[in-house]
């Protein structure tokens, strides 16, 4: 698909950045002992991550289990204490904000979680779950308007407003995820961080929720950070994609750049592992089968973290960590020997 020009990938023009993540680092200490805790190491869960989220776009974070997607998202919102770095939102660094300022940020940036059931209080009705947001942020909506707005939100996410007094267990998985979305929308956010929002859903229901998220974005001008390990879902919903491996972004670009002009060997291997939906595709014959397991994030390889499993690795890969920059590629890649269009 080389005839496609690089810019063809983004059908939306990039808006101005609404969120800028600079060199975000989150290390978790590994401790030993009960009474006298000693630190015996660190898990480099998110290590020097930088990206921009533009207004109205969907940025995907994709990678395998444990690569640091959730840590990155939670640290942005200071749900985890950052180790270092900065996150600029509306001109201010979230990491340096007072509790009061942070509270306002957490209204504007809402989170949707993977497990719709675990994140909904089983003893609250759907109406109460949605309205609870306004108890924490009463400035958003006057009390007398809340009932009407709740009905409106339920309708908006495709739930029957007559079910406002039902409990979460009376809904299916897909419907519960809709409740979570209605709750997030209650505070009129401008950014939604969705951590594996459709991973637990069956494919037919997953498609309903994906379409809903797309419709809401178009209607409300939302920006999304969309986390998933499913490369097909990510391609479908995202404008731009960041691929993570062991706490680092290995390549970032628009959907066409990452999927069609894939530059990092890890992304190549990842894409080739996804089964093709066509029985005649013979994908298996061209598959890059990675050897072994992902190394421990407590003791990542020196230099490029992928080098221990990479078929292109040379001596240089064990030295300096390759930076995420343009390397005769149409998008930034953190590899000394990137794949280039032939």
């Amino acid at each position: 698909m080389l005839e496609t020009a690089p810019e063809a990938g983004s059908d939306k023009k990039l808006g101005e950045p609404i969120l800028t993540v600079n060199n975000l680092v989150k290390h978790y200490p590994i401790t030993q002992g009960i009474l006298f805790k000693r630190q015996i190491g660190t898990v480099k869960a998110s290590d020097d991550v930088s990206f921009e989220l533009h207004r109205g776009e969907t940025l995907g974070l994709v990678g395998e289990s444990g690569c640091g997607k959730t840590t990155t998202a939670r640290t942005i919102l200071r749900l985890e204490t950052p180790t270092s770095g900065s996150v600029i939102f509306r001109g201010k660094d979230i990491f340096k904000m007072s509790q009061k300022e942070l509270r306002e940020v957490r209204r504007e940036i809402q989170v949707i979680f993977q497990d719709p059931y675990a994140s909904l209080n089983p003893r609250m009705t759907v109406g109460d779950i949605v309205a609870e947001a306004w108890r924490i942020h009463p400035e958003v909506l006057a009390k007398e308007k809340q009932q009407a707005r709740t009905l409106e939100l339920l309708e908006m996410v495709g739930l029957n407003p007559d079910h406002i007094n039902r409990y979460p267990h009376q809904f299916s998985g897909g419907q519960r995820q809709r409740i979570g979305i209605a709750r997030a929308l209650a505070l009129n956010p401008s950014v939604i961080v969705a951590d594996e929002p459709v991973s637990a859903l069956d494919v037919s229901v997953q498609a309903q929720v994906v379409n809903l998220l797309e419709d809401l974005q178009a209607e409300l001008g939302l920006s999304y950070i969309f986390i998933a390990h499913d490369l097909s879902v990510i391609r479908h919903i995202c404008d731009r994609v960041a691929v993570m491996y062991l706490g680092k972004i290995v390549e970032i670009g628009d959907e066409i750049q990452v999927y069609e002009h894939t530059a990092h060997p890890y992304t190549k291997a990842l894409l080739s592992a996804v089964p093709a939906l066509d029985p005649n595709a013979k994908q298996v014959e061209h598959r890059i089968l990675l050897e072994g397991d992902v190394p421990s994030p407590a003791d990542p390889p020196s230099g490029c973290r992928f080098r221990t499993r990479c078929w292109k690795a040379q001596e240089i890969c064990a030295g300096e960590i390759p930076e995420l920059i343009l390397r005769d590629t149409d998008h930034p890649v953190a590899c000394y020997f990137p794949e280039r269009p032939a």
């Binding site: 897909g174 498609a207 072994g292």
Partner: protein, 354 residues
Amino acid sequence: MTQVPLQTRDLVAGKPAVPGAPLLSVENIHVEFRLDFGTVKAVNGLTYHVNERETVAILGESGSGKSVSAQAVMGIIDSPPGFVTDGSVKFRGVELLTMAEKERRQVRGERIAMIFQDALTALNPVFTVGWQIGEMFREHHGSTKKEGLDAAVELMDRVKIPLARDRVNSYPHEFSGGMRQRVMIAMALALDPDVLIADEPTTALDVTVQAQIMQLLSDLQEETGMGLILITHDLGVVAEVADRVVVMYAGDSVEKGEISDVYHNPAHPYTMGLMDSMPRHDVQKDRLNPIKGSPPDLMAIPAGCAFNPRCPYAQDICRVEKPHLHELGEAGRVSACHFVEEVRDARNRSGSRL
């Protein structure tokens, strides 16, 4: 069935008991769970078979009865509340459901093996993996501890666990998810089964690890000639490895056929809906086309065609008469839809084919 013991001996020795019979066949199986507040009709007439060297995929969404139907084959339905109320399960032509318990256990234990859906938690955390694999040999072949461990090392090599000899005394928590799944496969293969039922063997694993495990299963199948029944909800995995597919909805098959026929020319609105719901990593797709609504409550399956409330083609007859599987032109191709021809024409006209 006077000759059961003799047949069983042949069966366990891997000899065909009834010449020409499929390796394993499941016919019109029904399973229900009788609970205080109602009866869950989990499997409702499922029929399929698998031959040697063949991979048959059972494809369906959550709750469609895939695991329960496999449990019925293995004779491990949780009973009560679960009951197999009708149907037949034949191994090399010999009925298993009415076989005496002792023989049946032998056939099922040795000739038909299963990898369970929750495999990653199925290993016992307090015993070493070598001990757990060796258990199969100690129990079925009366091996000694030492023989069991040696056999475990050999099997671990076969499922490509690196440094098997060094790792045979490790505990499950010292293994990654992919390595634990290899241990489960080793245990399933220990007695050299003729049929392997793999229930979602890669669902909890990352895609690169999934590719490794599927490759391993297909190599092992090549080597042993076993029949593989692969239970999954992943259309991609099915497209890649299966010879034939059985699409399940509400406990019964809605269509069956050879893999490329089903993918290129689906013959049931449910299969079509699944395909149109799939996002793709290899092509740009503007908008997904989901199936409306959600799967039925198995305590109150809709009358007529179970899919009718979600089906864009449903007519009056679909709400009263259950469509039976009927044959289509292609080999082994069946569909349970009153309007197959019309539905296929409509789809071909609209051009929404893969």
